[in-house]
């Protein structure tokens, strides 16, 4: 095919630029839309995943707890309520099995939002001295915007069933993705 060595006319060039620009704009918008979609979906998935992780963790521990207590000696004054949950569990023996607390030698687990970063849901574990349960604070989920506990009794320490509601959210491109889920759990050891 013979090349046009004499170049393009201005009209041709402008037309080319117009078409090229149009195509570029279209492609760029598709790309940006896709990128935005990707980012939003990514954020939504993160929020949903964190939410599910939080709910699974809390419901499993509630199932295994013996009772809800208003507070514990190591709980730094945190008391069970609408946003904080303190559970009492049997201590674990060397084999990881629950052993008789022999009176008051229980383990305690507390769930609440981190006081220094309210977007984090943390679990504080206070095992009895002879229990093999690991002590310390662990981040259960991030991006938590709301955490509420509802009890089937006005006195939470008498509750047999706890409803946990967790709301997680994340922001991407100025758009906030939110996931809210709840789970009703029975204290199997009560």
């Amino acid at each position: 095919m013979a090349l046009n060595k004499n170049g393009f006319t201005l009209v041709e060039l402008l037309t080319t630029f117009a078409i090229g620009g149009f195509v570029t704009v279209i492609v760029a918008s598709i790309y940006l839309a896709h990128f935005r979609l990707f980012a939003n979906q990514n954020t939504a998935i993160d929020a949903a995943t964190q939410n599910k992780l939080a709910l699974d963790e809390i419901t499993n521990q509630i199932r295994q707890a013996q009772t809800v207590v208003s507070t514990c000696s190591s709980c730094s004054g945190d008391t069970t309520g609408a946003n904080i949950l303190v559970l009492q569990l049997w201590p674990l023996d060397a084999g990881g099995d629950p052993q008789d607390p022999m009176g008051t030698n229980y383990d305690y687990i507390e769930y609440r939002k981190d006081a220094s970063d309210a977007t984090k849901l943390i679990r504080k574990t206070f095992p009895y001295s002879t229990s093999t349960r690991k002590s310390g604070t662990r981040i259960v989920a991030t991006g938590v915007s709301a955490l509420t506990f509802t009890y089937d009794n006005a006195d939470p320490t008498l509750a047999l069933e706890i409803t946990t509601n967790v709301t997680t959210s994340g922001t991407s491109n100025g758009k906030t993705q939110t996931t809210a889920q709840g789970a009703k759990t029975i204290l199997r050891n009560k």
Binding site: G7, T9, Y31, H34, Q41, N42, I45, Q66, P101
Partner: protein, 429 residues
């Protein structure tokens, strides 16, 4: 980067050849002409650019797709994990039911399908007397190729006192005295030291083995099993009186009017858990159903076809009727066990030290009688399942028919004394 070059305007030509004119006609004015030699896209470049562009989009799409897929898998696994937990819980619930149905003999089952969701496998192991460990495993969708598996372990206990009545008759230092055609169908142990630890006369018979710390008289009673004389004293079954009194009192206290609670006529009523302050007289065709332990501070008299039944909800467990005074049962009056297999019996206890702490006569009684400090008098075709007393006197065709299930019988404070989860032990493995 392609560069555009503006070519300088060419000088005007006034004379041109035809060919040149023709060429000139075909050309655009030079002033509008650009040199784009370096701008020209070579063949295939557009394709390459397109491919690069598509690749970027594809990478992003794949990344998002992978993320979505892993999230869906996460959600799916989460659901299956929850299903596996529920299957394991189903296994635990069924095990508790089975333990209560079989009197604690159930040992588990394997790969029981629950619909098409999955299966569960349960094992039951003895941890200590009265405590069993249930290990339930839920599989989704099957144990052979599980996508998800959850193991739950829990201890189950029965809020009962396990009391071993190993002998049809076990007596303390008072010994056994059998006369006429009295018979005992089961083994006998007498802790009386010296001669005639077991004394028989007439046609009395022991259809089982006879153990005595002292000696056993001859020729009566006839012993169809083996005779063991000069044995070591045997530990008597123990019972925590106060525990049972407290359990009964927890249900409430009834003060008998005039010091006597009387049931007669055709009364049908439920009793227990309850403490009765005074004597307790049941006669004629009264039917009382025990739904918990009963504590009577006075005497208990049961006569004339009156019945005290143990509620069937006790299953294979029994409960206790404890009396501070004496127990007198006569004239076809009966204590009836549950219909379970093995049966749950009423344990009739007298804390009295009287020689006639327990008196049974004229047909009837199917219960276990216990008077550790007092004596028991059994006469006139009276019938008991097992008896523990300091001394025993049997006469006139009275009969004791031992139930082998009493070797490890359980007595509970109520129907709630069935096998239940031991609080605190439920945990995931």
């Amino acid at each position: 980067m392609a560069k555009l070059k503006l070519r300088p305007r060419a000088p005007k030509q006034s004379s041109v050849t035809n060919n040149m004119k023709q060429e000139t006609r075909n050309k655009k004015p030079d002033s509008l002409r650009f040199q784009v030699s370096s701008l020209k896209l070579k063949s295939g470049q557009v394709l390459i650019i397109t491919i690069i562009f598509l690749t970027v989009i594809l990478i992003l799409s794949t990344s998002l797709f992978t993320r979505v897929t892993s999230f869906l898998r996460f959600g799916s696994n989460s659901i299956m994990r929850e299903q596996a937990v529920n299957l394991a819980e189903a296994g635990i619930d069924k095990t508790l039911w089975q333990l209560n149905q079989t009197g604690g003999t159930y040992s588990g089952e394997t790969n029981t399908a629950v619909g098409t969701t999955g299966t569960f496998t349960v094992t039951v192991a003895d941890k200590s007397p009265g405590i069993k460990t249930i290990t339930a495993t839920g599989y989704v969708p099957s144990a052979n190729a599980p996508k998800e598996k959850q193991v739950i372990k829990v201890d189950t206990s029965i809020s009962t006192s396990v009391i071993a009545f190993r002998y049809a008759v076990q007596v303390g230092t008072g010994g056994v005295n059998m006369s006429n055609s009295a018979s005992i169908n089961g083994n006998v142990y007498s802790n009386k030291l010296g001669p005639d630890s077991i004394l028989g006369s007439g046609q009395s018979a022991i259809n089982g083995d006879a153990y005595a710390v002292g000696t056993i008289s001859t020729p009566a009673p006839t012993v169809t099993g083996r005779k063991f004389q000069n044995q070591q004293p045997s530990q008597m079954p123990t019972l925590d009186y106060q525990q049972w009194k407290d359990a009964a009192t927890a249900g409430g206290v009834t003060t008998c009017p005039g010091g006597s609670c009387d049931f007669s006529g055709s009364t049908i009523a439920n009793i227990g858990p309850q403490k009765y302050v005074g004597s307790f007289n049941v006669s004629n065709s009264v039917i009382l159903t025990m739904q918990g332990p009963v504590y009577i501070t006075g005497n208990l008299t049961l006569s004339n076809s009156a019945k005290i039944n143990l509620d069937n909800s006790f299953g294979s467990n029994g409960t206790v009727l404890i009396v501070d005074g004496t127990v007198s049962v006569s004239n076809n009056a009966t204590f009836n066990p549950t219909s379970a297999n093995p049966k749950g019996y009423i344990l009739v206890v007298s804390t009295s030290s009287s020689d006639s702490a327990i008196s049974l006569s004229n047909h009837g009684q199917t219960a276990v009688f216990y008077a550790l400090s007092g004596g028991a008098q059994v006469s006139n075709q009276a019938n008991a399942t097992a008896l523990v007393a300091n001394s025993l006197s049997m006469s006139n065709q009275s009969q004791l028919d031992y139930d082998s299930g009493l070797a490890s019988s359980s007595f509970s404070t109520g129907p709630g004394g069935s096998w239940t989860i031991r609080k605190g032990t439920y945990h995931f493995k």
